[in-house]
Amino acid sequence: MKYRITHSTLYHYSQSVGLCQSEAKLQPRNFWRQHCHSSYFDISPKPIDFRERSDFFGNRVAYFAIQQSHSKLIVTSISEVSLYLRQHNVDLVNPIKWEQVRNFLQGHSQSQTFLTQSHESILELIEARQYLLDSPMITIIPDLADYAKISFHPGRSLIEVVYDLVARIHKDFTYDPASTSIATPLFEVISLRRGVCQDFAHLAIGCLRAYGIAARYISGYVETLPEKGKPRLVGADASHAWFSVYIPGTGWLDFDPTNNTMPIDQHITLAWGRDYADVTPLKGIAFGGGQHTLSVSVDVLRLK
């Protein structure tokens, strides 16, 4: 499956901006089921300073600075990505119990782990363990454990637990863009039973971490298909978020609580991190500017 993604953000300022520094995580990363063929930026006005690097989590980051006076900024990224169906059915029936995973991650016999494991699996384990901890936007609170409790039957396999949790979030929570903002804390999302994809991903991650399971946040896009008989609308898509859970022996498995699915061939991954704060697609500091308006358009086009 091959896609072309065009993601465009337009800022309009009421007064001119003299200097603007930005950071964009808008280029899809490569990993086992995704390959990014090309990805480039079209920024207007043209930044004097532009540089790409990869961050701590291996995501692609672009830094750019616009040093001339401007009252409008357009940041467009255009990427072509192939997705591969490499998911093994075996992975989905990994019977490992959630308690086993928790104990494994906590390293009850830590020193022993380091003696017996292969180098790669130790690195994988260290990497996974950072996703157990509180992160800037996800603080583990008792509300999370309370909500997740029904899913965590003793002795249940972790995969079943996650399936159940995702289905429950999908059923219990209403998708409502008006209900929350980026700053809405998790405990409020729980009591409102409303939110958007970002909130649901944070919620699921928080629930898993509350039981000692490593989970990370993923930002990206999902292909949306037009209703039958209607033409496809260009630019009507949107950015999306879901999460991934670490299962020893299998690796990281993605789940999308907003759509109650497992992302396979319609989810394009941009970046991952502990939560939204690590993978904010576009942020910046502008000097001057007064009031501003913002509009975003995303287009996910299936090429073949």
Partner: protein, 856 residues
């Protein structure tokens, strides 16, 4: 209790009772004072308690006058707390110092290696030498800083450790300070004061000197400069005057000759950091930071920070600026690390730790967690992250409910907590309330990297608990400091901060650029003080007139007083005041006058101007010479003491105003005699001239632009001359012949008279031309055009036409028009100066993150 037989026990008839079971610095574990203490105490004994108390007071006076303060958060009434210095130093023998020094160097070595590993290869994590949770769970680990360390020999440029002596007499490290350690400037100032108040004892004692440390600090900062290695531009980045140790930032900036800057004095362009100055952007090579690392770059780290510089980390990543200490180094301040240091020391250095840390158990590991939970009563429990709500608690002081609560917190997030041994620090003699008594003490030591080596300050900042039997030693809690005397076996060579250039080398004077912020503050120092002066002078002539109306009961005096009171309202801008009020209010003006003097919350009042002056001057503390600062302090402090904090009546105002006038004049005189005629002076004096012109015009408008009957006119003219300190010059010139055109000639046009409008405009125009010089081409800048117009209009005016009597009107219309236009243009000029030179006021704003609506 100890025997009372040794001479050192009897100090000036004071009995020194050490605490049971606690190590004392003076006695160690013996019954007799250690030899070096014995000598010091004998000297003290010879001096006697009374004289020693005088020396202590002298030290406090010096510290206060030098403006040595420590700001206490959340105490807006008493923002700056005078620095407390106890005149008995901590004495450390040369022999013992050797081992402390070696221990600190080793520790700096070790921490430097750990820092490099954490932000580099992370072998410590991969090999299981450090648990992932300990590093990743600490706020000091900053993901954006990964792989952003420079190619430097040493990454940790400055290191500081708090030391204390345990009951067995050996020194322990309590905690490590690795991001922006404070205290070295206070230590230096303590030393400066001690050598002045106890010169005799100091000389006899052979104490190691501190100045070499600062020379090394400078060298260390030069060493890490990525560019301009011969002469890098170094700045000190401060959070600003509200920060607790702001005094020290200003002190070090002045001592080391660096610019003191705040975040918005700097800007990132073309992948470099620049200082915004009056003469344009200046590239910065090294930043000595006093800002916590997560606040340093709002783009990549804490996004709400107003203190940092957007894009700074990207410049670091490209190797175009060096920061001491590097961003992310607070990861080493994690107290959980203490538990792992012995193992890491063996791993990296193949050595045992020479200075042990206080016993620490990190709860992230099961065995240690169980130990902490079982021994919670005897331990201090601390979160690994320092924060507003994260306090250390003494397990033994908790109720059983609180203990259960703490236990469940530890169980929920074990990696977040440590348990530490509850140690009784050693005590040392302190001179409190004219008695010598033991107080618990800790020593903050300082280490700096120069090239490959670490060097330790031979001394440090010793602090003692504010109360007896109290183990909490902190400045926020009101601690008292001490000098630290490391004894030398032979007299220490005096180290001079100055270096000699190689023979025949030409030396160019470095003109440190004036930052836009400093320019702004200087301008306002000039304006506020001039405002205060104008109001003071006017108030004094009002008080005289007030007295006369009571004494002579002449109605003309009353009319003149009314005019002066209205003028006061105009000059201070405190409407309605005496402008719109009934006759009774004018008859009994005392309350309003007192309010205009005392009420610091009232805009335009004398107190509000004095406060604003002080605040602006404090914000650029590093600019003032010691004498000048003392005069700033005097203006503010005496006013507080004599007027604000006392019940002042109208009768006592006059002498207080005279006193204020004297201290204002001292400041004015010092600045004009000691500031070089460069940008800073131009800014200060421009503010002063602009304000004086405005105040004079306001005065003339509400007194002399009005027509009065002859008898009243004479009185008003005289009062105006008194208020402008021009009566005697007028009398010398024109004898007793008083007339409006002559007075105006002196006060409006005479450019040789420093209190005339003409003089102010002439000076302003010289200043503005010098600022604009070299800036641009053949066109005049807006500020040049404005001052040219204002100055020319005044020079071209014809006094006889202006004071032409027109029978119908009570106002000299043309005169009034000239004054009001000039005033408007001067206000405009002030705005233009601000826009042109104080560009830092441009506010940064955060572009929004992607809004929610576009997310599925």
């Amino acid at each position: 209790m100890r025997d009372n037989d040794s001479s050192a026990d009897d100090i000036g008839t004071q009995y020194y009772a050490t605490q049971l079971g606690i190590y004392d610095e003076m006695y160690a574990t013996e019954k007799r004072a250690l030899p070096h203490w014995k000598r010091f105490m004998a000297a003290l004994d010879t001096m006697g308690i009374d004289r020693f108390e005088l020396r202590r007071k002298e030290a406090q006076r010096l510290l206060r006058e030098n403006g040595v303060t420590y700001n206490v958060y959340g105490d807006s009434q008493n923002l700056t707390r005078p620095w407390q210095l106890d005149p008995i130093p901590l004495l450390i023998s040369s022999h013992e110092w050797l081992s402390i020094e070696a221990g600190l160097k080793q520790r700096a070595d070790l921490l430097d290696l750990i820092l490099k590993d954490i932000y580099g290869k992370q072998n410590l994590l991969k090999k299981g030498l450090l648990p992932a949770e300990l590093i990743f769970g600490h706020e000091g680990f900053l993901h954006p800083c990964m792989s952003a360390l420079h190619h430097q020999k040493r990454h940790l440029t400055i290191y500081s450790a708090n030391l204390a002596r345990g009951p067995n007499g050996s020194m322990w490290v309590l905690d490590d300070r690795t991001q922006a350690p404070s205290g070295s400037g206070y230590a230096l100032e303590n030393r400066t004061v001690m050598t002045r108040v106890l010169p005799d004892i100091f000389c006899d004692t052979q104490v190691r000197r501190l100045s070499s440390f600062f020379k090394l600090l400078h060298k260390g900062l030069v060493d890490i400069a990525p560019h301009n290695k011969e002469d890098p531009r170094i700045v000190i980045l401060t959070p600003g005057p509200l920060n607790e140790t702001y005094f020290e930032h200003a002190y070090l900036a002045a001592y080391l000759g660096y610019s003191l800057v705040q975040g918005d004095d700097l800007t990132v362009r073309d992948g470099r950091v620049w200082l915004k100055s009056l003469t344009g952007l200046q590239a910065i090579d090294v930043i000595l930071r006093r800002i916590d690392d997560s606040f340093c770059d709002p783009l990549e780290m804490f996004i709400g920070s107003k203190l940092g510089v957007a894009g700074l980390l990207e410049v670091v990543r490209r190797g175009n600026v060096a920061i001491a200490n590097p961003l992310g180094s607070s990861v080493l301040e994690n107290p959980g690390l203490l538990a792992f240091l012995p193992r890491l020391s063996r791993y990296f250095l193949d050595q045992e730790l020479k200075l042990p840390s206080i016993a620490t158990w990190w709860c992230g590991q099961k065995r240690e967690r169980d130990f902490v939970l079982q021994n919670i009563d005897n331990l201090v429990i601390k979160p690994i992250n320092r924060g507003l709500n994260n306090h250390a608690v003494f397990g033994g002081l908790l109720s059983s409910k609180e203990k259960d609560n703490l236990r469940s917190q530890i169980a929920a997030k074990p990696h977040f907590f440590i348990g530490q041994e509850h140690v009784n620090f050693s005590t040392l003699p302190a001179f409190i309330d004219q008695q010598i008594e033991p107080r618990n003490a800790i020593l903050r030591s300082f280490v700096v990297a120069t090239g490959d080596d670490y060097e330790v300050m031979p001394g440090g900042l010793t602090r003692i608990a504010p109360q007896k039997d109290n183990f909490t030693v902190s400045n926020q809690a009101g601690g008292i400091s001490k000098d630290t005397w490391v004894l030398a076996t032979e007299p220490d060579k005096k180290i001079i901060f100055w270096t000699q250039p190689p023979h025949n080398q030409r030396i160019d004077a470095v003109k440190e650029p004036l930052t836009s912020r400093a320019a702004d503050h200087l301008f306002w120092v000039g304006r506020h003080l001039e405002r205060a002066e104008a109001v003071t002078r006017l108030l004094r002539s009002i008080l005289i007139k007030h007295r006369e109306t009571l004494d002579f009961k002449d109605p003309v005096d009353g009319d003149c007083l009314t005019i002066l009171l209205r003028t006061l309202t105009q000059v201070t801008g405190t409407y309605p005041g005496f402008i719109k009020c009934d006759a009774l209010f004018l008859k009994s003006p005392d309350l309003e006058l007192l309010s205009l003097v005392k009420d610091s919350h009232r805009n335009g009042s004398l107190s509000s101007n004095i406060n604003a002056f002080f605040k602006a001057a404090f914000s650029i503390r590093d600019f003032w010479s010691q004498d000048t600062w003392r005069s700033v302090d005097t203006i503010h402090r005496r006013w507080q003491e004599r007027v604000i904090n006392t019940e002042v009546t109208i009768d006592h105002l006059q002498e207080n105003l005279d006193d204020l006038m004297n201290s204002i004049v001292a400041f004015t005189g010092l600045t004009s005699e000691s500031m070089t005629r460069e940008a800073a002076w131009v800014m200060l004096d421009s503010g002063r001239r602009l304000e004086r012109a405005l105040a004079l015009i306001a005065l003339l408008r509400s007194t002399l632009a009005l027509r009065h009957k002859d008898a009243l006119q004479h009185q008003v003219l005289e009062a105006v001359l008194i208020s402008t300190d021009s009566l005697s010059i007028y009398q010398r010139r024109y004898r007793s012949y008083i007339q409006l055109p002559l007075v105006l000639d002196l006060l409006l046009l005479d450019e040789s008279h420093p209190r005339s409008v003409g003089y102010q405009l002439k000076q302003l125009s010289i200043h503005i031309n010098s600022l604009s010089k070299g800036k641009s081409n053949r066109y005049l800048s807006e500020e040049e055009r404005l001052i040219l117009k204002i100055y020319t209009d005044i020079r071209l005016c014809n006094l006889h036409e202006l004071t032409q009597v027109n029978e119908d009107v009570g106002v000299f219309k043309d005169f009034e028009k000239l004054l009001s236009t000039t005033s408007e243009l001067l206000w405009r000029l002030s705005e233009v100066i601000a826009e042109t030179y104080f560009s830092h006021s441009q506010i940064s704003q955060l572009m929004p993150l992607n809004s929610q609506e576009d997310e599925l």
